[in-house]
Each structure stands twice: as structure tokens, then as C-alpha cells.
């Protein structure tokens, strides 16, 4: 009760601070040479108030204060403490409060980190960020207040959806949001820089750290979500082209492209328009993601809120932001006549540009696949879904040139370059194709495309591996990320090609036998846990003489009353073995799915390597 009240009033105070900051910023904009300290102080105060409000909600969850509607809808007294806390952002209202928290945190950090930059630029960035912040304040207070009061006070809450009660998913939203919302500061600052015609080398050096930071968080956030989907949803895959996943992948494409463009801007002061457009795109896509996920338009696992008013608000807000940014872009951005900026066909700039266009293509494919069903439903009320084949068909072939450009591009020099060691590059390419041919020799389906694809992935793999030992190559971080990417593509492909599975229905005591596996369903036992009853199945699986015990689990949660199945996964260095057990009502049969999935671990490791490249780049920059 008390914490909710404190949280609510902290929010209202926070909103009023926004107007104060506005007032002082405009006053300060023309008058002084130095930034008024009041702006920084008020930003800090605003951050503090949002933190207070956030902790108000966290404490309401911890103490199970069911007079708070959000807590009532998403918590339960028997829930473990850890999930009570993570339940704070496991719902619509709480997650928006988290958005707001990150928004205010980032502008404060921005103001203290940008001391030696142009004063006007800092103020304008703060102003643009305040527009976003005010939008979110109003959104929170008007249509999704986390502190709504209910009377009479219920004795018990409705509980958090059990599939969300999971350690990976507890930290997935905050990490992902740091990436999403991190793009807000890029957005604000790019608008400010465009207005002041400040999109330059100095600006690129400074914004690069922000781009890197949100890129790292976004990458890790997507990784966590993917790991969670793998072991929790029991489908045995890690990416389903579900709209909600796509929505996080699209900003990632835009942000990755932006990162490369900022590099060019920093070194060669060109590609300004790309940088501006991509910064706007990244943030717009992040907002779109929030809109699509939270409005209930998407048919997906994550859509729990179904409130048209919310969707409408975000949509309107989004259009206003897009309108403002396009207006600023067309009015203020003039492409300067730059005679010195031309570059030859064979140069680093060209290869980055080519990859930009590839990235934009990937982005549009995913965008079309995600939005087309919504679009069609609106205009013709025909209901469709776009499945994985669509994406595979359109994305996979284009990965081949993409991978090759990724391998060769970093070896080129700026402006104009000769491709030295041509022979050597060609020999490696032939070798890679040969190796992939030998590996896939016995494969019949899609032989040609798989061979070339794996060949080009090997190509990138070998070239980046070799570059770790070459003295000529300076950028470890870039090489590491590209190396990680080749590893990722290789692991995904091998995982796809060499996975095997058995699906069968078994009763207790029965055996399933085929040429490769023998699956024996030994027993099932019941255990009582804190907030669920667990049924553990005991399986003995014999494969090529090796016996393995598996204990998959079915959980019957009491509040809300949901059954989930917990996969039992044996992870080894090269392969994952994965078993799930499902039940049918009033049937003796259990539905068993056993999968052998090679290189699963390597998919996670390679994404970690990719983001490690970003982390190294971020810190080596700071020490300079």
C-alpha cells in the first residue's frame, strides 16, 4: 500500500521535473557558454525519482501487496522470492517502468560523459530525450499505471505465467531493454547533431561507444531469449521466426549496420546520411517492437496484454517521433559537396556499403514477414502466418556473398586498395569448398547450396583465424566478432543438417526401438514443490551401446493452473541430447520427443564471442 503510493507520487514528480528540465534547457540554450549544472542535477533527480518508483513496485511485489493491481495480476504468495522480484518486469506495466528507468539513466549518463562536447549539442540531445521520456511518463500514468489500486483487497494474486518463472527470462528483459532503450540516446543525439550540423568525426568517436554499448546488450538480450526458448518451450530449437523474435532481430540488423557506418564516419567522414537514417531506424524499430509485442497484435507467446488503447497510444507516439525525425532530416541535413570523399570501387568503404545493402535486405525480408500477416488481416480479414521456409528461402542464399564480403572487406584499405595475396585468398576459398564437400558428401537434400554455404562460412572462419596471428591486422575486436559470426553460421548449419529426432507415444514400462536408439520408459514419480507439483519421468536411452538416464519433468503449477514440461538436456562439448515428455488428458500414453542436436553449445558460445568483440572494442577505446 505505502510502497505503491510512494511509487505513484514519485512518477508524477518525475514527470513535472521533465518540464523543469525543458524550461532550463531552453533558457540555457542561448545564454551561456557552459552547460547549466541545473540540467544535470535535475536529470539526476528525475532518475532518482524513477528509481524510487521502480523500487516501490519491486517492494510491492516482494511483500505481495495485492492492493496493487499489477501485483495482483502477476504475483502469488507461494512464488519464490527471486520470481517475485523478476515478476516486476515480467508484465506490461512493470516493463514500461523499466523502459522509463533506462531512458532516464541513459540521458543522465550521457550528460556526465559528454563534458567536452558542444554545449548546444548536449542540451538539444537532452531535450529530444525528454520528449521521449515525457511520452513514456504520460503513457505509464494514463493507460498503464503500475500502481492502480484495487478494493476490496484480494487475499491472493493470480500468479506469474510459469514459463516466465525462469532464471534466463528473469534477466532477459532488462538486458534486452538496455539494448532497445540504448538506441534512444543514439536517436536523440543524432537528431541534435543533425540540427547543429555536428555529424562529424568528433561526434562519431563519441557516439560509437553508445552504439557499441546498446549493440552488446541487444546481442546478449537476444541470446538469453533464445537460450530460454530452447530449454523452456520444449520445441528443441533456438529460433522460430516468431514475430516477437523477429521484432528484436530487426533493430539488431539496423544497429549492426549503424555500427559499421559509424566506423566509416569516424575514419573517413562519409556516409553521414546512412548514420542518421540508421539511428532513426534503430530506435523506431525498437519502439515498433514494444508496440507490436505489448498491444496484443502479434499472435505469439509473449502477448499477454490486450488493450487497444495502449497500442493506439504507442502508435500515435511513434508516428509523432518519426515525423519529427524525418522533418529534421530533410530540413537540416544537407549533403555537403565533398570532393575529397570519393573512394574507389575496391576499398573498405565499398565493402562496408555492400554489406550495408545486404543487411538492409535481410531487415526488409524480416520486416515483410512480420508485418505482412497483420497488413493482410486488416485489409482482407484473411488470416495467414508466414513460416520459417519463407525466411530460409530468402535469407540463406544471400548469406553466401555476405560471408565472402565479410572475409575480404576487412583486408581492404580505405579509399583505394589493391587486393594483395590474391592467390592465397583463392586457394583458401577452394580449400573451404573442398572441406565442406567432404563433410557433406553423403547428404542428399539441398546438396549444392549447403556445400557452397558451409564453404563460404569456412572461408570466413579460416581467414579470421589466420588474421589472429597476422601482425598486419590490427583490429582484434572486429576480427573476433567476424570470427564469432562464422562460427555461429557453421554451428547453426551443422546443427540443422545433423540433428536427429524421434517422436513417439509411450506408456510406463514400454520400449521404443529403431535402428539407432532404444528408448525405455521406466517409471514416473510425483514430487511436491513450493508452488507446483512435479511429475518426473525416468528414461533409459541406449544409443550405440552408450546408456544415458534422462529425467524430463512435467510441472503442474497451482496458480495459475498451468502444465509445463521441462526438458532434460544433456549438454556435452559437441552434442546436446534433449528429451521432453508431454501428457494428454485422461490418457495413459505420454508423448515423448528425443532429439540429438550437435553443436548446440557452439551456437551460444559463438554469439558470446561476437559480443566479446564489441566489449573489447568498447574498453580498448576507453583506455586510449
Amino acid at each position: 500500500m505505502l510502497y505503491s503510493l510512494i511509487g505513484y507520487y514519485a512518477l508524477i514528480l518525475g514527470l513535472s521535473i521533465s518540464f523543469l528540465i525543458f524550461f532550463f534547457s531552453i533558457k540555457n540554450f542561448r545564454n551561456n557558454e557552459i552547460l547549466d549544472n541545473k540540467i544535470i542535477n535535475f536529470s539526476f533527480l528525475q532518475l532518482f525519482l524513477v528509481i524510487v518508483s521502480f523500487f516501490g513496485l519491486v517492494l510491492s511485489f516482494v511483500y505481495s501487496d495485492f492492493s496493487n493491481e499489477t501485483v495482483f495480476n502477476n504475483s502469488h504468495t507461494t512464488k519464490p522470492l527471486f520470481y517475485k522480484i523478476s515478476g516486476t518486469w515480467g508484465n506490461h506495466e512493470g516493463s514500461l517502468l523499466l523502459w522509463l528507468l533506462v531512458l532516464t539513466l541513459f540521458i543522465f549518463l550521457f550528460l556526465i560523459k559528454s563534458k567536452n562536447l558542444l554545449k548546444k549539442y548536449r542540451i538539444l540531445t537532452a531535450l529530444f530525450q525528454q520528449i521521449i521520456i515525457i511520452g513514456f511518463f504520460i503513457f505509464l500514468l494514463s493507460s498503464s499505471n503500475p500502481f492502480n489500486y484495487i478494493f476490496p483487497i484480494p487475499n491472493e494474486g493470480l500468479g506469474l505465467n510459469p514459463i516466465l518463472q525462469d532464471p534466463a527470462l528473469a534477466i532477459h528483459p532488462p538486458i534486452l531493454y538496455l539494448g532497445y532503450v540504448g538506441s534512444s540516446i543514439i536517436f536523440s543525439s543524432v537528431l541534435a547533431a543533425t540540427v547543429l550540423k555536428y555529424v562529424s568525426k568528433t561526434w562519431a568517436i563519441h557516439i560509437k561507444n553508445w552504439v557499441l554499448t546498446s549493440w552488446i546488450f541487444l546481442t546478449l538480450g537476444i541470446l538469453l531469449g533464445s537460450i530460454w526458448a530452447y530449454y523452456e518451450l520444449g520445441w528443441g530449437g533456438f529460433w522460430f521466426w516468431d514475430p516477437v523474435e523477429n521484432v528484436s532481430l530487426m533493430p539488431w540488423f539496423a544497429l549492426t549496420t549503424l555500427l559499421h557506418c559509424v566506423l566509416v564516419l569516424e575514419k573517413r567522414s562519409t556516409l553521414q546520411s546512412w548514420v542518421i537514417i540508421l539511428s532513426i531506424t534503430t530506435f523506431t524499430l525498437s519502439m515498433c517492437g514494444t508496440f507490436l509485442v505489448r498491444s496484443g497484435i502479434l499472435n505469439s507467446v509473449h502477448t499477454f496484454a490486450n488493450d487497444p488503447e495502449r497500442g493506439l497510444f504507442i502508435l500515435t507516439f511513434l508516428f509523432i517521433l518519426i515525423f519529427i525525425s524525418l522533418f529534421i532530416f530533410f530540413v537540416f541535413h544537407k549533403n555537403k559537396k565533398q570532393n575529397s570523399i570519393s573512394f574507389s570501387l575496391l576499398s573498405k568503404e565499398t565493402s562496408i556499403l555492400v554489406n550495408n545493402w545486404f543487411m538492409m535486405y535481410f531487415l526488409s525480408v524480416v520486416l515483410v514477414g512480420t508485418l505482412y500477416p497483420i497488413f493482410l488481416q486488416v485489409i482482407s480479414s484473411e488470416q495467414i502466418s508466414v513460416g520459417p521456409p519463407f525466411y530460409h528461402k530468402l535469407l540463406v542464399p544471400f548469406l553466401i556473398p555476405f560471408l565472402i564480403f565479410m572475409a575480404i572487406g576487412p583486408r581492404l584499405k580505405w579509399i583505394k586498395s589493391e587486393l594483395d595475396e590474391k592467390k592465397y585468398l583463392i586457394i583458401i576459398f577452394i580449400l573451404s569448398i573442398l572441406i565442406s564437400y567432404l563433410i557433406l558428401k553423403n547428404l542428399s537434400a539441398n546438396f549444392l547450396i549447403n556445400t557452397v554455404l558451409i564453404g563460404s562460412a569456412f572461408y570466413l572462419f579460416f581467414i579470421t583465424t589466420k588474421d589472429f596471428f597476422s601482425k598486419k591486422h590490427k583490429s582484434i575486436s572486429q576480427n573476433l566478432s567476424h570470427f564469432g559470426f562464422s562460427l555461429l553460421i557453421l554451428s547453426i548449419l551443422f546443427n540443422n543438417i545433423f540433428s536427429r529426432e524421434v517422436i513417439t507415444n509411450l506408456k510406463v514400462g514400454e520400449k521404443f526401438i529403431n535402428e539407432k536408439f532404444q528408448i525405455e520408459f521406466i517409471d514416473i514419480k510425483k514430487y511436491e514443490e513450493q508452488n507446483f507439483i512435479s511429475f518426473k519421468g525416468f528414461f533409459l536411452i541406449t544409443e550405440q551401446g552408450i546408456k544415458d538416464k534422462f529425467i524430463p519433468e512435467l510441472r503442474v503449477y497451482n496458480q495459475p493452473n498451468i502444465i509445463t514440461s521441462e526438458a532434460d538436456i544433456k549438454t556435452t562439448f559437441w552434442t546436446d541430447k534433449f528429451i521432453t515428455m508431454n501428457t494428454l488428458q485422461n490418457e495413459e500414453y505420454f508423448n515423448i520427443r528425443y532429439q540429438v542436436k550437435p553443436f548446440m553449445l557452439w551456437i551460444w558460445i559463438s554469439v558470446l564471442i561476437i559480443s566479446l568483440g564489441g566489449i573489447i572494442s568498447l574498453f580498448s577505446r576507453k583506455s586510449e
Binding site: 488470416q383 513460416g387 519463407f390 530468402l394 507415444n505 501428457t583
Partner: protein, 139 residues
């Protein structure tokens, strides 16, 4: 004559235009091929001709219709007007049971018989695929 730079730029623009046209064409073509339509059992009855295309069928699992053997699941999907017989072998989601909503993906063998290759998971008791909800509300 135009200068070298202009020629180069022209070539560049033509290249971009061509690739944009190509990619739009590719996207549209594969959309047409890979889109999965959603039908209710009543929609199926009204189909003029049966196509050899993957579709989704949604509705309720009819009471007392669910039968399971060691390699197959059989049940009937109904929208309380029409019904369709479904045969399926594969993973069954946990909340799949009689009297609950379901979406099955697969191929129509004829107007009354559907061979499913996938049954879509639902993740809690209150959650119903929007398509099913709409299909049931219509009737």
C-alpha cells in the same frame, strides 16, 4: 559526352534499382509460396477446390473424440457447426485436450479429413490463439 564520374554513378544507380526490383520480386514470390492460410472447419466445407497447400485449421477439440496410440493421435476439430477429422503423429503440446482450442497445421486430404504435421502450442489456459477465438466468435 558525360564524364566518367557521371557514368559511374549512373551505373551504380541502375545496379541498385535492378537489385531492389529483384529482391522485391523474390520476396513477393516466396511470400505467395510460403504463406499459410488459416481456416475454420466451416471455411473448409465452403472451399471450391482443394489445393495441395499447407494450411492451418483451428477450432475446438471435440469431446470424446481424442484417441491415442503408440504412433498416432486422432481427434476431431469442431467449430460447433462443422467438423473435421484429424490424424497426427508428432509432438503434442501440453494444454492440448478435449474441449480446448487447438490449431493444427498440415494438408487437407479431402473436405472431412486432415493430415496434420504440427499442432501449435498454447502456453496457458487463458490464452487462445487469436485465430481460434475469432473463428469461434463468428459462429
Amino acid at each position: 559526352m558525360y564524364g566518367r564520374k557521371v557514368k559511374f554513378r549512373l551505373l551504380f544507380i541502375i545496379l541498385i534499382l535492378l537489385s531492389v526490383i529483384l529482391s522485391v520480386f523474390l520476396v513477393l514470390k516466396s511470400l505467395k509460396e510460403n504463406v499459410i492460410y488459416f481456416k475454420s472447419p466451416s471455411d473448409v466445407k465452403l472451399l471450391r477446390e482443394l489445393q495441395d497447400k499447407k494450411i492451418r485449421i483451428g477450432g475446438m477439440v471435440k469431446l470424446d473424440s481424442l484417441k491415442m496410440s503408440s504412433d498416432e493421435v486422432n481427434f476431431i476439430i469442431t467449430d460447433f457447426k462443422n467438423e473435421i477429422y484429424v490424424i497426427y503423429s508428432g509432438v503434442v503440446p501440453n494444454l492440448f485436450s478435449e474441449g480446448k482450442g487447438v490449431v493444427a497445421e498440415g494438408y487437407l486430404k479431402d473436405r472431412n479429413f486432415f493430415e496434420a504435421s504440427k499442432i501449435l502450442a498454447k502456453h496457458d489456459e487463458n490464452y487462445m490463439p487469436p485465430e481460434v477465438k475469432a473463428a469461434l466468435e463468428e459462429n
